[in-house]
């Protein structure tokens, strides 16, 4: 899932001006991480109206990153959209751009910051799991990804700063290398770490388009 967090409300107010504004959310990731689902759109509407910013309408797109589906869904909001100066999108950076594609004449604003591709670890807690490098390496590391989960993306770790299973840059962060070593040990496969992992082919993560 694409994990987002809402931007600071005061900063949003500065960029929104006086409105009217149209709110768009997303039924997928932004709903799951409580940044742009039905509830959050409703709360944002109320918060803006409290600040005397008029909200012309709102919708939760299904999902915001689907260009043609957005076109279809937004047909019934032509009138409200016509009245809106700005569109605030509570979805990931992808969703914002897909919406912006449809409204060249309006200011389409990002209501969230996109953080990472991650899992729902428990209620309201999300952890980074992938940075879309284009060539998955988790098979070498007991199903764990050091590219996205080690702050130095080390393929031949751990670095010398791991302590008590925690990362040197943040004592809250698990050292993914320590974890991989423990998992491989349980499986009796610690020796696989003696293989020198070659420099990564980062060009695989530079794809800009894919056609099936």
């Amino acid at each position: 899932m694409i994990v987002t967090k809402q931007k600071n409300f005061e900063e949003l107010l500065c960029s929104l001006g006086s409105g009217p504004v149209f709110l768009m959310g997303c039924s997928e990731c932004a709903t799951l991480c409580h940044t742009g689902g039905k509830d959050e759109i409703r709360a944002m509407k109320a918060a803006l109206e409290k600040k005397n910013i008029s909200v012309a309408g709102c919708v939760v797109l299904e999902p915001a990153c689907h260009l043609n589906n957005n076109k279809r869904m937004l047909k019934e909001y032509t009138k409200e959209l016509g009245r809106s100066e700005k569109i605030l999108v509570l979805a990931c950076g992808n969703g914002v751009q897909t919406v912006a594609e449809l409204f060249a004449d309006k200011d389409v604003l990002a209501g969230t910051d996109t953080l990472f591709l991650g899992e729902i670890t428990r209620v309201n807690e999300f952890d980074k799991r992938c940075m879309q490098c284009g060539e998955c390496v988790v098979d070498f590391f007991a199903g764990l990804c050091p590219v996205s989960r080690c702050p130095k993306s080390m393929l031949n770790g751990p670095c010398g700063g791991s302590s008590g299973g925690k990362c040197e840059i943040n004592s809250e962060l698990e050292c993914i290398w320590d974890r991989a070593i423990q998992e491989l040990k349980k499986k009796g496969k610690l020796q696989v770490l003696m293989t020198i992992q070659k420099p990564k082919d980062w060009s695989k993560g530079l794809e800009m388009k894919r056609r099936v």
Binding site: M154, P158, C159, S163, K198
Partner: protein, 303 residues
């Protein structure tokens, strides 16, 4: 045999080596490096020039190394993967070798969040082990990382790496040393030793795998200058192990600076007797002028 560097020559000859670290200034004054180096002339066989250590911007290790060469001193140029990708790293290896740098210490590098530009993008295109292998291949096989051949001279460098006997998990640290040797490390400078018994245990494992015969290990020593420094090393610097006994000695000393010096001296004397140790690497953070007497009193002066 033709040696690639003086450091390699004396290590192969079996002399007990001293290396010392020189931290470059936060400015472009070459004199800062020259003054430190002049102070240490004759007291160390080669001098590490750090590469923006702890991710704080300083004069580059490349320039610092060249300044030492101009003084007829031998640099060990540190090279980290934090700030440069494989293109820049390989280019700097060629450039440094072309100007006479013969020793390179390959490090992954401290994370940028520790330094004075925490909002910088860390590169980490490759890690220290990959960097060792890349440079070894440039030198021995005449190919760049991509497989493209070098067309002019190959960089004739002596390759080093770091090792930390105190890092977790302890059990993997000797394997990691093994991996660094496989990748191309010919000498090792260890993390600063305060916990000698744990270091000795690590060396027992190193010797049991015969690794002390495959690589020259220099044990790190950093004299503690104050109680504050002991506290920082004990509680805040990742990957260091200051035992309670050492911390207590510093805290209860009438003169902590003298006590720190005495502890460093004792540590060097103990390390000298550890089988498989080929030298001492002294990192005297902002206290370089202590090195001459430390070297002399520890009986490490050759001349």
């Amino acid at each position: 045999m033709r040696y690639r560097s003086h450091l390699e020559e004396i290590l192969v000859e079996g002399r007990f080596v001293v290396t010392a670290e020189i931290g470059p200034p936060k400015g472009s004054d070459a004199k800062k490096i020259r003054d430190k180096a002049e102070l240490l002339r004759g007291y160390a066989d080669a001098f590490n020039i750090t590469d923006n250590q702890t991710a704080v911007v300083r004069l580059s290790s490349f320039a610092g190394s060249v300044i030492l060469l101009q003084m007829n001193l031998e640099p060990i140029m540190q090279l980290t993967c934090r700030d440069r990708n494989r293109i820049a790293l390989q280019s700097d290896v060629l450039g440094a070798a072309s100007l006479g740098v013969r020793n390179l210490l390959c490090l992954t590098g401290d994370h940028q969040s520790f330094g004075n530009h925490p909002s910088a993008k860390g590169v980490f295109d490759v890690d220290s082990i990959q960097l060792l292998q890349i440079i070894k291949n440039m030198r021995d096989s005449g190919v760049f990382q991509s497989g493209d051949p070098l067309l002019a001279e190959r960089p004739n460098v002596f390759l080093g790496a770091a090792a930390n006997p105190y890092a977790d998990p302890f059990e993997i640290q000797v394997d990691r040393l093994h991996k660094k040797i496989d990748a191309g490390a010919e000498f090792i400078q260890t993390q600063s030793v305060y916990n000698v018994s744990k270091f000795v245990r690590w060396m027992d494992d190193v010797r049991s795998q015969g690794l002390d015969k495959k690589v020259h290990i220099l044990a790190g020593v950093t004299p503690l200058k104050s109680v504050k420094m002991a506290e920082r090393m004990k509680f805040h610097v990742p990957g260091t192990d200051v035992p309670d006994s050492v911390y207590q000695r510093m805290k209860s000393a009438a003169n902590p600076t003298e006590e720190g010096y005495a502890i460093a001296l004792e540590t060097i004397r103990e390390l000298k007797t550890v089988r498989g140790i080929h030298g001492i690497h002294i990192t005297a953070l902002f206290w370089e002028d202590v090195i001459p007497s430390l070297v002399r009193e520890a009986g490490l002066l050759h001349k």
